[in-house]
Amino acid sequence: MAIVIEQPDAPRSRKGAQWEKRAWIFMRISGVILIFLIIGHLLVNLVLPERGVKAIDFAFVAGKWASPFWQVYDGLILWLALIHGTNGMRTLVNDYSEREWLRKALNVTLWVVAAALILLGTLVITTFDPCIDPNVHNYLPDLVCKG
């Protein structure tokens, strides 16, 4: 009887094998982009305004989100930072949770929270209305919210 030896160079096919690779690439790319986004964020919010951190108030934020540029900018930080951070937490969970059900539960919780935060944040950035606040007249000139 002939003995059949498995070909050592037979290709392996596994589902979802590319997932970890994509996650790794995402971490590298998002990490580099986030460095510049966050330095810019800190500069514009804390360093460049005359009164520094005290300049941040409702009007300041409203002024920024009136421009599509800052909507996209803040939206990018929100998405990249949350996915980057959650994926990092996922690797920690995978490292340290020994029981499979616990690992699954923690990972599902992580992604549900991240998705909720991304959804909420995106909603705020895209549908932000500076006139919704009754105190807004204290900060914004009347002509902004008329009509």
């Binding site: 050592p8 094998a17 970890e20 690779k21 996650a23 790794w24």
Partner: protein, 249 residues
């Protein structure tokens, strides 16, 4: 004449000193948990940790169990955790350690302890087998396969591995996740992936592009520091990552 004899005598006297060794002991037939046991050993400046262990085993307590074969840093049998660092007991001179303090000797971490300093190496060897650590070529060899010095230099560093498991058992990812291939398996895959004579680089890259493959590496550099052969392990892993991204060597 007499002064010359005396000076020869002086050279011949190698100074000895006493060190305390705390050895992690575990007897599966008696102990529930491993425990520390201390031994005072008189050693010489030329002695290595392995010599002290021999002294204990041969003169004090014959039940002390550890692995060693060549005792000269070639076979890779006696990797152990000495003062919290993975080293070969046969390549660690006692005088190079801080001898004002006791020396702590433990089994390497992350593998099941079988007895004293002996661990179950099977998961380690299985990961090694899984990366197919042998030349895979389609042609029938009729003469030697010629390779240029440059092509050979490409994987020179990773040929030095002696499979002592010092790197894999210093890896925090391996400690918590035994499914991870570990640095040693990736180093040995690297040795063939970047060998110009080998034809199965893609297969090995596919194997290491796994959930428990190269992406688990967190570049903590513990492996590079632990390697008694001075292999740049983390660099080799990074090169394999790059090769996986390219899809070829």
């Amino acid at each position: 004449m007499s002064t010359a004899v005396e000076s020869v005598k002086e050279i011949a006297v190698v100074p000895s000193f006493t060190v305390t060794l705390f050895v992690r002991r575990f007897d599966p037939e008696k102990d529930e948990e491993p425990k520390w046991q201390d031994f005072d050993v008189t050693v010489f400046g030329t002695d290595r940790v392995l010599d002290a262990l021999h002294k204990i085993k041969w003169e004090v307590d014959g039940s002390l169990t550890f692995r060693r074969s060549c005792a000269h840093g070639v076979c890779g049998s006696d990797a152990m955790r000495i003062n919290g660092r993975n080293r070969l007991a046969c390549k660690t001179l006692i005088k190079d350690l801080d001898i004002s303090q006791p020396i702590y000797v433990e089994p390497i971490k992350g593998l099941k302890v079988e007895k004293d300093l002996v661990v179950d190496m099977n998961p380690f060897y299985q990961a090694y087998r899984d990366v197919k650590p042998f030349l895979i070529a389609s042609d029938t060899p009729t003469a030697e396969r010629i390779q240029s010095p440059e092509d050979r230099a490409r994987f020179e560093d990773t040929t030095k591995c002696i499979l002592c498991a010092a790197c894999t058992t210093s890896c925090p990812v391996f400690w918590t996740d035994n499914q991870y291939f570990g640095p040693a398996a990736i180093v040995n895959a690297h040795r063939f992936i970047f060998d110009s004579r080998d034809e199965a680089a893609e297969v090995r890259l596919d194997i290491l592009n796994d959930k428990e493959g190269v992406w688990r590496c967190r570049t903590t550099f513990n492996c590079t520091e632990a390697c008694p052969r001075g292999i740049e392990v983390t660099k080799a892993i990074a090169e394999v990552k790059q090769a996986v991204l390219r899809g070829r060597r």
